[in-house]
Amino acid sequence: MIFRRSVKRLMFLSFLMLLSPIVGLSQSDSCNYSVRGTVLDVKTKKPIPYVNVVVRGANRGTVTDINGAYVIEGLCSKVNTVDVSGFGYSDSSSTSNTSQGETQNIYLEQKALKLKTVNVTGKLEKKKGTETISQIQMGQAELSIDPTRTLASAISEQQGVSFTSMGSNVQLPVIHGLYGNRVLVLNNGMKHGFQNWGTDHAPEVDIASASRITILKGAAGVRFGPEALGGAVIVESDPLNLRNPFNAQVGAGYQTNGRGYNSSLKLGQGFKKWSYFVNGSFTKIGDRETPDYVLTNSGKEENTFGAGLRFYSGNWDAKVYYSYVNQNLALLRSSIAHSGTALTQAINSEEPVIIRPFSYDIAEPNQLVQHHFAKAEVSWKNDKVGKLTMRAGRQINGRQEFDVRRNSELPIIDLELSTTDYQLDWKHKPWMGLDGLIGVQYFYQDNNNNPGTGTTPFIPNYNTDRYSAFLIESKTFGKNIIEAGVRMDFEINSVRGREVNQSIFRDEYDFANITTTVGYVRELSEKSSFRTNIGTAWRTPNMAELFSFGQHGFKTQFGLLRYYFNEEGEVRTDRVVPIAESEIEPEVGYKFINELEHKSGRNRHTLTAYSHYIENFIFNRPYAVISTIRGPMPVFIYDQADALFIGFDYSWNRSWTESISGTLGISYLWSTNMSKNEPLINQPPISADYRLTWNQGEFWWFTASKFTVKPRYTFQQFNAPREVPPEDLIDGTEIITNDSEIFDFKAAPDGYFLLDLTWQFELNRLSGSLSVNNLLNARYRDYLNEMRYFANEPGRNIMLNLRYRIGANQKGS
């Protein structure tokens, strides 16, 4: 009976929708009109989540929830036009004449041209300059399944994206084989200013407070500057919508592996001329466990706080953001080996050398990080001129790292990095059919070592000044877009450090470069479209790549300027080579990326193929084992060579029924060192996954319910360097010279199969997810995790996360 009634109601509502504009109830007062409804796919009639819905002229907008539903309240006019734009759909608009509560369904047609956003203030300019680059977006609903994840882990479910890590807490996004300084993390419009070197420093970004994450898979250097060589990860926080009734959300969660718990609070409100948000979160996770043993010292603790304020007045729009992240991240105790003998033992041991019972305690090795982020943004819009946006940002990143050593209470690394950014953009009004963005930027970083580490600084003190200017123009004709851009950067560096005997070394150097991008999007037919982009980008070697010296973690490392070969061809480390005397060049990358999308009936195929050539690619590799007073020690050096990356991402989406759909994804990458004709180290292996989603809509007493099953297979990295175990180097079985082929201390781990399950649900104001990662409790090691030398990955993890909404923005009546 109930079922029949709801169907009737649905039919009735659809009928009303067809009769749009609907006659509304008379209203006397202003600003309490609202629009609400559901966004549906015109063909499948399925709801479309995470599309932008904006009220034209009111500067108010929202994003649809997992049921495609939206509500925008506090509107001042009775007749409203909403513009809807979604990922992979044509834009649509719809006009309604409503007062309160009427449902208005909007149908979107699937479209090959992705992400041509309309009318979303503050978002369009971010897309500008990247329209022809293959990209992916993730919304809050996807991110909230596990709010305690790292940024890298959250986005790694996407095709072509993976992560490299140092255990469960320190994870860096990898896009098409590139990571670290080659993937720009843009936090709220600013380059995240952190100690971005090595694989043991992850961006301190709290995904629980992110409202949207965009992953650009092409070289986006022109728009975002150096370091976007391999792509960019753009994290956006609350959009600070105006005329948004008070809304709050309280979240809490628990996970079985690591016995972790988290809680979060978000609240916000938008008035006619101003709006605000405040959020905070707390996470604590203890030692993770593999199916067989505890990963001793693998917990984390994290506190975050964020706030934003916006003033809006006619042509002016001003926003201020502040955020704070405080982390204490444990690294696996057994990853520390102070000698070749200990390393040999740690590598060859089936289980980690040190296993203690479960604990929440975090001991050495660990990292304490505090990141402050402050930003002010003012924009001015004028019909004749266009839009001018000025951004100023300041970030302070304090980092202390503790190693297992005699003086373990002293940090072995204690750095304070401050980053200052100024950006001025002009999005000019269309001129001769050209849409464009012109910008100038100034970027300044100051890195200082705090005294009291009892060890010679691993990274020197330095100052970097960078001046940049860019221009990006696009022209649309019919359904095709051409986009082109150019950028100039000039960077000045001043470095001061200490040698081990405490004598001072200094270096001053600068780099100048021009970066370009050309892209083209063409709709081949109703069913298929093609996009192509050639982008160049560059990157200066980072301080660790140039200057690192000595032991940290299990590695003894030498930066490019800290070693040289003497006349006998022997490696020497007794002086710092001035950069002017060295042959070091900045990395320059050329990325050619093509995407073909084809739809037919219930199927959608997307093939992204790319080739990426990087001159002077810098990488870290095992070099030798040298004898020291501690015994034989494994030595890693930074090296430079020309590298080529070729790969593709393929995805096939099919709607099996009205409510069940599946997506097959395959990522393939082949890479090589062109200079020496040998493999590169630490490159992502081939992976394939299938995501089967059963979107039930209303189910039982839940207002929404969605099941996802995701089997995933990751192959062994067949293209890994040969294995030379440390004991062979210690006993002289294998002799390494400068011309020797690249090697690794351990062979790439076997392929592995994982099965993940997720159930997302909504019960009026309560929403949440119950998910199981590694359901089969598989024992495996991940090639991109440096801990693979020492331990297995965590086993099964069951997570429950709940969120309760207070105030407006709830669905239903």
């Binding site: 001003a318 005699r406 401050s418 020497r572």
Partner: protein, 207 residues
Amino acid sequence: MNTFFKLRNYALIALMASSVVLTSCGDDDDDDVPEPVNEVEVITDVKLIFTNSNDASDVVEARAQDPDGQGVQELAILDTINLDTSKTYILTYEIFNNLETPGEDIGAEILAEDDEHQIFFSFTDGAFSSPTGNGNFDNAADPINYNDLDDNNIEVGLNTTWTTPSTMTANGSFRARLQHQPGVKTATSTVNTGDTDFDLEFVINIQ
């Protein structure tokens, strides 16, 4: 009304300007150099000192040196241990970081943290009449004449006793390894527990 809007625009410009000022204070290129540090981790020189227990002037020293500490230069074993037959020696150490001037005495630091450290030994089988055997690398319970105990009554090894037999040994091996075992040093911990601070193998002649 117009004036009001203008004023507001000025206010926004002021806000914009103040944000610039706020974020740029005190940021001129500095020229700070990291402060000099007292290297507490690096060991460059280890000296083994065998003192005849009956004659304090009868001293045999053997040195090992890694002149560049963490650098790639190879370790050099500078001396051979030449002991007399049928004598009892007390073995002590001098452990220094000589990259600093004056050199840093790491031995004192190890003594202060003796509950986290233990020295293990391995030598040519039967080279000594006491301890017998080949040392406690292969089996931590094998005999070594430790003369020092930490607060937990576990052996340390900064002071050990060695008695040579009447038989001679030529070109034998004597290896000493200092293990750093924070939180994991127990009565049963072994040469493979924890991390190595030094691991030195000398040639030994007993004649």
